[in-house]
């Protein structure tokens, strides 16, 4: 990753009827980074991606790709490739033909494109699947073919539109790791769209959090998580306890709230356990506190029973304020 900017978005706007899908966005994407556009559905993240790809035209504003204004260019004149949400593999072509498609369009010779496609196929560990049709592949395999079909063109930017959304949890987690590894290996800039905050936190170098067509916050995953700049970001990325203490509104993440008697923090509060939700490795405990509000604490399973009186404590430094 370098500091050079590969995609530069300025004052980008796009409306659908009355809805301002993308509302005056500025964003610089660095060469070689893994940038995630994170937000709920309808927040404008996909529209931004589609405008970078060229499937949508902006109402106003510019998109510069490697120093060239591409805002008004059709998709086939932009040096970017897309991995689509439901893969969009060509059903009448086999795996190899799908991967070769982009090279074939560019007029690469038959031997050359075969060689490159086979390299790509190896990269995604699907050797031996050349002659399969997309319908004969599992979701995860289709996903990989879609990736290879895009990457074989060596675009300067790869756009990924919720590519893991259709996979089951186990496969999704595995693909997250693979994708990240692949991105490091090929060194291509990835722009990744997702509504899954966990996915965004795991994979990204930087995250742009979208809401109502605007970027609420842009930063590294840790920065976004530990220091959310707005109420929306704190709510959308991870869970948060929003409480009022000593007349001040403060936020504290559930995993920083402990109910152990050792009192690990410099802030403490008396509470009784109202309910618990078992989530596997941890349990989410819901407490009624003495001042009257309720708080959630996520901890390893600790054998607390409903009605137990405890002292909740946490470090002040883990608190964050929100405008």
């Amino acid at each position: 990753m370098s500091d050079a900017v590969i995609v530069s978005i300025r004052a980008l706007k796009r409306s659908f009827g009355e809805v301002r899908a993308v509302d005056d966005i500025d964003l610089d994407i660095r060469e070689g980074e893994f940038l995630t556009l994170l937000g709920p559905s309808g927040s404008g993240k996909t529209t931004v991606l589609r405008m970078i790809a060229g499937f949508e035209k902006p109402d106003s504003g510019t998109i510069t790709l490697a120093g060239k204004d591409v805002s008004q260019l059709p998709p086939y004149e932009r040096d970017v490739n897309t991995v689509f949400q439901d893969y969009a593999l060509f059903p009448h072509m086999n795996v190899l033909e799908n991967i070769e498609y982009g090279l074939r369009v560019k007029g690469v010779s038959k031997e050359e494109r075969r060689t490159q496609a086979l390299v790509a196929l190896k990269q995604i560990r699907l050797e031996g699947y050349e002659a399969r049709k997309p319908a004969q592949l599992s979701g995860g395999q289709r996903q990989r073919v879609a990736l290879a079909r895009a990457l074989v063109n060596k675009p300067s930017v790869l756009l990924l539109d919720e590519p893991l959304g259709a996979l089951d949890l186990k496969l999704r987690e595995q693909m997250q790791i693979e994708l990240k590894a692949l991105q490091r290996e090929v060194g291509i800039t990835f722009i990744f769209v997702t509504h899954d905050q966990e996915e965004a936190l795991t994979m990204s170098d930087r995250i742009a959090v979208f809401n109502h067509g605007k970027i609420e916050q842009l930063g590294a995953p840790r920065e976004i998580y530990e220091n959310p700049k707005s109420e929306f970001v704190s709510e959308f990325v991870g869970q948060t306890n929003r409480i009022e203490l000593d007349g001040k509104k403060i936020n504290i993440r559930p995993e920083f709230v402990s109910s152990a008697h050792s009192g690990a923090g410099d802030r403490s509060i008396k509470a009784t356990l109202r309910d618990e939700i078992f989530v596997g490795a941890t349990t989410r405990y819901l407490f009624d506190t003495e001042p009257g509000f309720s708080m959630i604490s996520t901890q390893p399973n600790n054998g607390l029973k409903i009605g137990d009186a405890v002292t909740l404590s946490w470090q002040r430094e883990k608190e964050f304020l929100v405008q």
């Binding site: 998709p75 086939y76 897309t82 689509f84 895009a150």
Partner: protein, 285 residues
């Protein structure tokens, strides 16, 4: 009622019999029966004096048909017309269907489908007589419209038949293609463009192969309907005859020979379906 329902529920075979007897009877007796009668009659002959059908098996009709050059010409002409109509309908239908399925707004899509269907509500004869007045040499609508810019109506004959039939069968081509394009996901078009393909390339490599089964479905209508037509030829064909006309003329004077001629379009259609089947298009209909 209750007891009938109970009996039916317990006996799946009885249920099947009740469900399918009528349609199977119809299919076997009225449809395949007629076809078999046609085939058998083709081998009969006619008493030249009384004009009655003589039910003895012989190949005389087929010999006459294959040796007389006039019939060969009619077959080739009919084939040529059916192919031209199919090609013209395909060329006209693809952009129309594409506009309807991929460009028009959902609301106007439905209106367009209804508009495509409206000509089918009018009588065949009315439409062909309308074309007669349009094509009429000298004082037809076409001459009146195109005369000032130096064009003439083609008059009655082969071109008129092709125009008339293309007009008649166009909806049968548009609708299957429209349905095929509806099923074609938009993101395949996006993906092709994203991978560097211009629109024409995308059309050839992605759209055309994927709607091929729809083209075949449409062509089966336009091709077979053209192959069997004789009314259009009678009204706007001038002196030109198609296979149907020959069948029609022989129908009252030499029924076995009419049946023999009628086996030709049936055979051509069978060959066409067999060829189409080999492309695998029928499997994905």
């Amino acid at each position: 009622m209750q007891s009938i329902a109970n009996t039916m529920h317990k006996k799946p075979k009885l249920r099947l019999v009740a469900l399918l007897t009528a349609p199977i009877l119809w299919l076997v007796v009225a449809y395949l029966g007629a076809l078999a009668t046609l085939l058998v009659t083709a081998f009969f002959t006619i008493d030249s004096f009384t004009g009655n059908v003589v039910q003895t098996f012989n190949l005389g009709n087929f010999q006459d048909m294959f040796t007389d050059a006039a019939y060969k010409n009619v077959v080739l002409r009919t084939l040529g017309i059916a192919i031209s109509v199919t090609v013209i309908c395909t060329i006209l239908a693809i952009p129309m269907a594409f506009y309807m399925a991929k460009i028009a707004k959902p609301k106007s899509q439905k209106i367009l489908v209804a508009l495509i269907l409206t000509p089918l509500w009018a009588s065949y004869l009315v439409k062909i007589y309308a074309w007669r007045t349009m094509l009429e040499p000298g004082n037809g609508v076409l001459d009146w419209l195109l005369g000032p810019i130096g064009f003439n109506s083609p008059g009655f004959g082969g071109p008129a038949i092709i125009i008339g039939l293309s007009y008649l069968w166009l909806p049968y081509m548009i609708l299957p293609i429209y349905a095929g394009l509806e099923r074609l996901p938009n993101n395949l078009l996006d993906a092709s463009g994203d991978l560097g393909a211009h629109n024409w390339y995308t059309f050839r490599r992605v759209v055309l192969p994927l709607i091929f089964p729809s083209l075949v479905a449409g062509s089966m209508f336009t091709f077979s309907l053209s192959l069997g037509d004789y009314i259009t030829a009678t009204i706007i064909g001038g002196k030109l005859q198609m296979l149907g006309n020959v069948v029609y003329q022989n129908f009252s004077i030499n029924l076995p020979f009419a049946a023999t001629i009628a086996t030709i379009p049936v055979t051509i259609m069978a060959i066409y379906l067999w060829m189409v089947r080999r492309t695998g298009a029928l499997a994905s209909l």
